[in-house]
């Protein structure tokens, strides 16, 4: 039994977070969405991740934290086959989504991404109007019925509707950074994915915009499952139900790769981590 570590998590008093963290339902009542087993990810033969095994649960916010270079983005991009776009990328192990291995050779990444959406680190709205940004995906994916309502609903859920409802035809590039990111979230959730992956969604935004996005996640997690990569521990502590800590390990020949160190309820990771490395990271001793 470890002695109580000297953990202090400072929460920025200028940012008022309204999240009311619900306690996580007991394990038996959690539905597993992802079963990730022994995944290695390699860029041109060099391992970026090794032996990652974890389960992601439905309607929870799962945070991926760790120092830079530990493979957090690589990991999250495995979940929607986005790494396929990188030449030289290979992967071993299985990622089961609702029981189906999405890395199998006969699985179409297009189908995978339909259900597992992604929001990127830097807002990347299309150079189209605000309306078209959200509507384009709907049109292409054949969800044209009641499209105006779908667009409105997505923008509302992304907490952007009130700000843009009078200028839907304006260019998306006229929005501020925080608004653009919310537009990207609206775009992603408009097509009704099952899971929304977020790769450091607020790292390019100011604290107010960040807060808006965190609030969003909390409000929407009853409808979607979020997996968020963040380098900001406080953010993980604020929004995540489950937290996975990755770190950089060294192999026998001195090569560096990322590894999952610990994965547990956020509460536990931050107050009573089991692994020394986790403790070092969350207390700020390194990373």
């Amino acid at each position: 039994m470890m002695e109580e570590p000297n953990v202090s998590i400072t929460i920025d008093p200028t940012v008022r977070v309204e999240t009311r963290r619900q306690p996580i339902p007991p394990k038996e009542r959690l539905e597993r969405i992802f079963r990730i087993e022994d995944v290695d990810a390699l860029y041109s033969g060099k391992a970026a991740l090794k032996g990652v095994t974890l389960d992601v649960y439905k309607n929870l916010v799962t945070a991926i934290i760790g120092p830079s270079g530990c493979g957090k983005s690589t990991f999250i991009r495995c979940l929607n086959r986005m790494n396929d776009l990188i030449p030289g990328f290979t992967q071993t192990g299985t990622i089961r989504y609702h029981g189906q291995d999405i890395c199998a050779a006969d699985v179409d990444p297009v189908a995978v991404r339909r259900h597992i959406g992604m929001v990127f680190q830097r807002p990347n709205p299309f150079p189209k109007s605000i309306y078209d940004n959200v509507a384009w995906g709907l049109k292409v994916l054949g969800m044209k019925d009641g499209i105006d309502d779908r667009v409105e609903r997505a923008l509302t859920q992304a907490a952007l509707w009130d700000e843009v409802k009078d200028r839907l035809k304006a260019s998306a590039l006229s929005l501020s950074g925080g608004q653009q990111q919310r537009l990207c979230i609206a775009r992603a959730i408009a097509v009704k994915p099952d899971v929304v992956l977020m790769d450091e969604p607020a790292s390019a935004l100011d604290p107010i915009a960040t807060q808006a996005i965190e609030q969003l996640m909390n409000d929407l997690k009853s409808e979607y499952t979020f997996v968020i990569v963040t380098h900001n521990m406080q953010q993980a502590a604020r929004v995540a139900d489950m937290t996975a800590f990755f770190s950089i390990s060294r192999g026998d020949e001195g090569q560096r790769f990322g590894e999952l160190i610990e994965y547990d309820a956020t509460e536990k990771i931050f107050t009573a981590p089991s692994d020394r490395k986790t403790e070092d990271y969350v207390t700020g001793r390194f990373g």
């Binding site: 929607n80 986005m82 776009l85 030449p87 297009v110 189908a111 995978v112 991404r113 339909r114 259900h115 959406g117 992604m118 990127f120 830097r122 990347n124 709205p125 299309f126 150079p127 189209k128 384009w136 995906g137 292409v140 994916l141 990207c184 775009r187 992603a188 097509v191 994915p193």
Partner: protein, 332 residues
Amino acid sequence: MSAADITPDETRRPFAWRRVRLGDLVLQGIAGAAAAAAVVLVGLITWKLIEGAWPSVTKFGLHFLIRTAWNPVIGKEVFGAASFLFGTAITSLIALALAAPLAIGVALFLTELAPRVLRAPVTALVETLAAIPSVVIGLWGIYVLGPILRDDVEPGLHSALGFIPLFGPPSSSGSSIFTAIVVLTIMILPIVASITRELFLGVPREQKEGALALGTTRWEMVRGVMFPYARGGIAAALILGLGRAVGEAIAVTQVIGGGVFIHWNLFDTGDTLASKIAASYQGAATNLEVASLVYLALILLVFSLLANLSAQWVVRRVGRRQGIGLRRGGAG
């Protein structure tokens, strides 16, 4: 810039100071003169052409553009550009219509579909196509392409689509407007492909990923994100390609057969503005004919100026995101 104004203590070394300034002035002067010469050159070209065409311009005025005639017989001289304007229009526009989808397809292939290992070689190959001199393509057009079109393609098209006036009876030689169209398509394909390829390469990766992450297919991403992004540049590329096609004289004159008439049958012979000039190089019968040929060149010049300037305008307006300069241009 201001560092150039550092002058050493002029009281200590007065002659050195003067030398320094003089050198700067001389270099700037000579270089500036060269730049001025380039500008003057364009003006000179315009002026010389107007001067050379003047006898014909004063005699025929703008009616020249709508008259179909080319009669150098002394006493009955009458010249008109209409048939050549028609020939230029029909060959260049159809060639552009054929080359554009091919070029965009090639550009897409090179940027999205080709295996890494093929990209550089195939790009080099396509650019090499642009380096083949017109006279060589013309030579190939006469003795390789022409017979194939005459013996197989044209009769085939005529029997299948003969009800369309474009596909009338095939020519007896290999020379025809159709052959010229194929030759022009080959010549403008690499330019349009090369510019389009650079445009596609300039589409930011996060835009493409943003589209694909929604669950769209690659083609849907290309249509929804890449085409809109590259739209202005592609327009400029097409204008440049058109300019190239319009100005091509040698290869066209080798395969088009000549003739002063306006007819719709692509398999018949004809002439374009450029090819007519080239065909007359061995000498025109009268001064008025020479002036009329220069008049044709003047029309070509006006067109190329318009095409070039509008392409640049399009690039400036829309292509600010991409750093594409109009390096490729020029007609043979």
